[in-house]
Symmetry: C2
Subunit: 412 residues, 2 copies
């Protein structure tokens, strides 16, 4: 398919062309890039070489420390640039020219530094997996009334902390915080969390600004969604449990949130649309969507430690999300709340219907009551020091594969 | 005190010198400014005139659309600039020179446009008034157990929405949203909120960046606090009530949050320090502070409508806050959460111990059960269309007065 030889099982096929930001070396300036196979594609260098001349972008347009200005070009332009990239790496006159200059714009991904690709104004985390919400409700409330009365009517979500969002590969500090042995026991102690967990999530990136007072209709919401990332919503369950009433999660979450280095544009995910789960009772009219608004993206969570590698903990899928992204964005703006390019809106933990697909250790170990056996004979209920969590996500259909790479963090 | 004649009851005395951002007219570029009496002081013009020459700031340093870069100069510089302003407006050689050029850097405040003064990365809202938390707990839970078990141990807070923070004077759109008649009744409807409320708050502005994993000790926290603003945390009580379990307030808050146009630096508030309320039980060591960490700032909320003006609803005071700002910031970073210059951390509604000082209509009308009589004979439980809420705040002691101006919004 391309003059560039790439591995067949790569996430970064010629159907993908995700967006990221990289530095060639420590002293280099950051620039917007894409990926193909094991290569980073330097868009700044391609622009210098004239491959984007007809888009009339300013000189050095791609020399940026986030892709926000790229997103702001609008879908007409970014889709055209995407098609240009496909062209550059296919066959024909443009491809011939590109292949000659390959050493100027291609870098081995392992040789460069990938940076946080977004300038994130606001970060929202939804709670859109019915399976996850049911599991949590069963554990901490009542298995017979696991879902709260509002859950089937509202895509429940909360505001998260933007400052602690980091790119894949950044080390995770085990947080200190207050916790109690029993919730009703008012004798908190302060110290290192004993229940650090991961959460298997994706997030979408807002692609257009709105003004305060403006709303986005569910049926038009896709115009406002640029792409998706993998997201690990690291959670300190002991801190979270003690602090969360009545205003929700706070320091139990804000010590770190990892996203993948690559933002996959929605165009690349289009072939993988599937119908959303049936919603019963019917949602209110402002949340109604037609057509296929969900995506069949397989998500996995794996664990590495000093004595084992890549032990699969969970296999889930974005298609299980009860609320789709259009509904989430329509709801978020239904009160006139403004959104900005680069805002991140996460799915919440996406758990599959069966335990093999639970998206957090809280659920996998059922709040610590069912330890998981590891390949080295040790057990886990929550994460231990030195553990590395690797999230992966990809879609595949009729030989077309599109993925996110990895979303990795090692807990100190 | 100054060669400039200013009204004696102004908030913007020669002891204040708050920071803001203004535009001379619609086409002008925004610039950082201060205030004295009814005048805006154009710091860009003063810099051009050479009054800040010895600080070695770049040309056009003050031509910015937020004060973030000013804050980033650090307290040594910003305090010196503050003293320079006092000098410029007092007597002596520098003052003589300044008074000659007054037409170049002074503008009537009513003639210019004041803009949102901050680039706010993250916005946190605490819940630090014991009186407010007790009132809310009594209304919605159990008067005998009004405070949840964690409240006396943790400065409870939640992440708010930064994109919907607006400057004083910006009109407020009445939000749409889901609500129910009875909480357990799963028949929500979608429409305009019927219970729009204000919340009387202040907020502090973070003055120094930290890295992820870094903590701020409570005793050192003042080094990281630049100044304070007034804040109205507009709330749609019907939306908030239905959506808030289990993850906290979301769309019931994110339609608008108004802050004053002026950020008062902590140096100006120093004369008004008072001891904080006694904390019983004792707080955990990481939250301990010594000395006077609270401030005696009188806060008022007033209401105007088409048929009455400036009807006083509430008189409260920042000194009632159970948790002080040092404790809030130490807690917020205790898990390693990073903070950035310009981050806003609000107090939560500050209610006084008696009903005349309750800081929201929710409390003043006791969840709508005690309508308030207005000067025109009408009643209010929550806000009506066309109502304007005016928050004010000032400190006064031994003839020294320092205030915030107004924090105003009119509900459509």
């Amino acid at each position: 398919m391309s003059w560039l030889n790439i591995l067949t099982d790569t996430d970064f096929t010629i159907y993908n062309f995700p967006l990221g930001v990289f530095k060639k070396d420590a002293r280099a300036q950051p620039a917007i890039c894409s990926a193909l196979g094991e290569y980073v594609v330097d868009l700044d260098a391609l622009h210098e070489l004239g491959f984007f001349r007809d888009f009339k972008l300013p000189k050095r347009f791609f020399r940026k420390d986030s892709i926000n200005d790229y997103i702001a070009l609008g879908k007409n332009i970014t889709q055209a640039i995407r098609h240009r990239l496909i062209d550059i790496f296919s066959e024909g006159k443009r491809a011939n020219s590109a292949s000659k200059f390959r050493y100027l714009f291609l870098h081995q991904m392992r040789d460069v530094q990938l940076l946080l690709p977004l300038n994130i104004g606001d970060y929202t985390d939804f709670y859109s997996s019915k399976e996850h919400a049911t599991n949590v409700g069963s554990m901490f409330r009542d298995p017979d009334k696991a879902l709260l009365p509002n859950w089937l009517h509202i895509p429940i979500g909360y505001h998260g902390r933007a400052s602690s969002i980091i790119v894949s590969g950044t080390p995770i500090h085990r947080p200190n915080g207050q916790s109690v042995v029993h919730l009703k026991e008012p004798k908190p102690t302060f110290g290192a969390s004993k229940r650090v967990d991961f959460e298997l999530e994706t997030a979408f990136v807002v692609g257009r600004n709105t003004q305060i007072g403006e709303t986005i209709e569910a049926e038009q919401a896709e115009d406002y969604i640029f792409g998706m990332v993998l997201l690990n919503d690291w959670s300190a369950r002991d801190i979270q449990q003690w602090e969360s009433q009545p205003l929700g999660p706070f320091l139990g979450k804000s010590f770190a949130t990892t996203i993948s280095a690559w933002v996959v544009p929605m165009e690349a995910l289009d072939p993988f649309r599937v119908p959303s789960p049936k919603q019963e009772p019917a949602v209110l009219p402002y949340l109604e969507t037609t057509g296929w608004r969900s995506y069949d993206i397989e998500l996995t969570a794996s664990l590495s430690s000093q004595s084992f590698d890549n032990h699969r903990l969970s296999v889930s899928n974005t298609k299980y999300s009860y609320w789709n992204m259009c509904q989430q964005l329509a709801h978020h703006t239904s009160n006139g709340c403004s959104v900005r390019i680069g805002d991140l809106m996460a799915s919440g933990t996406i758990s599959a219907p069966t335990p093999a697909g639970y998206g957090s250790m809280l659920e996998l170990s059922w709040n610590g009551t069912k330890p998981m056996l590891m390949p080295d004979g040790t057990q886990r209920t929550f994460l231990e020091g030195g553990d590395t969590v690797i999230l992966r996500g990809f879609a595949e259909k009729k030989g077309i594969r599109v993925g996110f790479g990895e979303c990795v963090g090692r807990l100190n």
